[in-house]
Amino acid sequence: MVSPDTLRVDYAGAVVHALKQEMERDTRVFVYGEGINDTGAYLNSTDGIAARFGEARCFDVPNCEDALVGLGIGSALMGYRPVFVSLRVDFLMLAMNQIINHAARWPAMTGYQASVPLTIRALIGRGWGQAAQHSGALYSMFANVPGLEVVLPSSPLEGAGLLLTALRSNLTTIVIDDRGVFAGAEDVPAVVEPIPFGEARVARAGTDVTFFAISSMVSFALRVADQVAASGISAEVIDLRTARPLDEETIRSCAARTGRVAVFDIGWPGFGLSAEVARVISEASPLQRRLLSVHRKDEQTPSSAFLEDAHYPRLDDVAQQVEAHFS
């Protein structure tokens, strides 16, 4: 028997459920995307939204990704909470000017007086022969950029809770939906609770090694953990949930506890999740202290001479850091 306070839903059902809940609560939320109201659009994850809320709040648009993100930014600047649905992450490459140069930077450029509470959902077409242009993960390009939030749900329950947080966030949030998470079903509460960003989740307890995973690689890591358990390896699986903000604290503490780490990324290795996890661990470990990252501040560049001066690495500061770090 299904208890009345939960629903058994797949990822698409969970997303629709969370979206309806928030659209009911907050009339500023609306959704748009190319072919969004087609039957089965975006693997059914917008099913029934137009029927419930009308086409003014769930509308079809032309194929113009850059302008479509601009549409979201402008309406977000006026206090609305738009959700742009992009059928592939790859298609967002046409909107990089609006996403990176504008959505991420507008708040900083106004001295944080304006905010851009825009949510972009984009699909990774993993599997089914989708080839190079429809299967890109590409999330680390966004995760590099201050001012954006990058969310990588691993299951229906996670998808619902993280989407709710995205809809309520005042920053532009990119929710990456990997086709690999759309298959299974899970119990989701009738009233979804938001899942805070930057707080990783223990998906499996273990003592010998920590697997850090995101998105569809969480269930993959769980299966690997089951398999290696037979050889006596006890693997802990951590679902990092969000690439920006990244739960550095959990990465440090898990790595310190098990001392061995594997990273399960959905994307390519270069400048990806493993490099990021390695940086967090190497910089923190009091025994190792083998790495120090020297970089500009993790913020969008301010204009003022006074603020700009503090934005870029300063010779004396870095020399001091090096001394403190390696001595």
Binding site: C64, M109, S303, E308
Partner: protein
């Protein structure tokens, strides 16, 4: 002139404010306390003033790297803008934006983009916001002719037209993108023709005459407001300054010289043209014109002195060394 004396003087005063602020920048820049690129609007003041004079306070606007005139004509604070140029916390963008990213929430000036044609798609979103608000406000997106070299400019026009959004796209054609002429960049140089091809209403005006701009703007704005459909207003004028940097190609305002130039029917200076139109139709306003031409620059010079002193105070603590002047202002 088809406006009241009050409106005529309002337009003149606003243009003189813009000119005086930019002349202040030119005068102060060599002191190296204004540290950042500046794109002046000298020669193009009537575009911003003519359009925004017929807008309502609740209308929202966005702009480009050349945003001083739009910010000031929309009602942004002069002092807060000058503070922004000096990188002070009291600046209109709290020191984060600088000259290219002025912002005023109170004036519904929503900011400016320095990447082409970045603010044009955002204007479409502001139009959607206006439509959803249901208050009959209009979004105004200013852009230069160079922005219309870009593909996403036309995505934005199409999107606003197909979604039926109240957006006025003001295309400020100074014939140049940096220093590359329009004809070297576009085979079809008539922006209005392109707008019509996308299903938008379009109008043109020569923006040396602020009242001609105002008239054309009133007409297209009326259309946008009453039908909730976008329109393009294509304006032409000469940029009487460098693309970037504190370089004007005309002399600072001098009342005598301005009154003489006002009599020149072929002037390309919109302020002289405005004074000329006022004196032709309402010669009794001569005293008011002179008061504006003399009073405004004096008041604004005082704002620069105040902001410069605040910069010096702040730097007494921060101890920043003035960087060498840029080798070139072209980038």
């Amino acid at each position: 002139m088809d406006v009241t004396a009050e409106v005529a003087l309002e337009c003149l005063e606003r243009m003189v404010v813009i000119r005086a602020v930019e002349e202040g920048i030119c005068a102060e820049y060599s002191n190296r306390n204004i540290r950042g690129p500046v794109h002046l609007s000298i020669g193009q003041e009537a575009m911003a003033v003519g359009v925004l004079n017929v807008c309502r306070p609740e209308d929202v606007a966005v702009s480009t790297h050349r945003d001083h005139a739009h910010y000031l004509a929309k009602g942004g604070s002069v002092g807060a803008m000058i503070d922004e140029l000096y990188g002070l916390e009291s600046g209109c963008s709290r020191g984060y934006g600088g000259s290219m990213h002025l912002f005023s929430g109170e004036a519904n000036f929503m900011g400016a983009s320095a990447v082409l044609p970045g603010s044009t798609p955002i204007a479409v979103g502001l139009g959607l916001g206006c439509k959803l608000d249901g208050r009959r406000a209009v979004a105004v997106g200013f852009s230069g002719d160079g922005a219309s070299d870009e593909g996403s400019f036309f995505e934005a026009l199409n999107l606003a037209a197909v979604l039926k959004l109240p957006v006025l796209f003001v295309c400020e054609n100074n014939g140049l993108s940096t220093n590359t002429p329009l004809a070297a960049r576009q085979a079809q140089t008539d922006i209005s023709a392109k707008a019509r091809a996308f299903g938008l209403v379009a109008a043109n005006a020569d923006a040396v005459d602020v009242f001609a701009v105002r008239r054309a703007a009133a007409e297209v704005l009326d259309h946008v407001r009453s039908t909730s459909q976008p329109a393009v207003l294509a304006l032409t004028a000469d940029r009487l300054c460098a693309h970037v940097g504190p370089v004007s190609t005309i002399d600072p305002i001098d009342t005598g010289a301005m009154l003489a130039e006002a009599a020149n029917g072929a002037t390309r200076d919109p302020i002289a043209s405005c004074v000329g139109a006022i004196l032709r139709d309402e010669p009794q306003l001569r005293g008011e014109c002179i008061e504006i031409l003399e009073g405004v620059p004096t008041r604004i010079a005082a704002e620069f002195r105040r902001a410069n002193a605040a910069f010096e105070d702040r730097n007494a603590v921060a101890g920043l060394v003035a960087p060498p002047p840029p080798k070139s202002h072209t980038v």
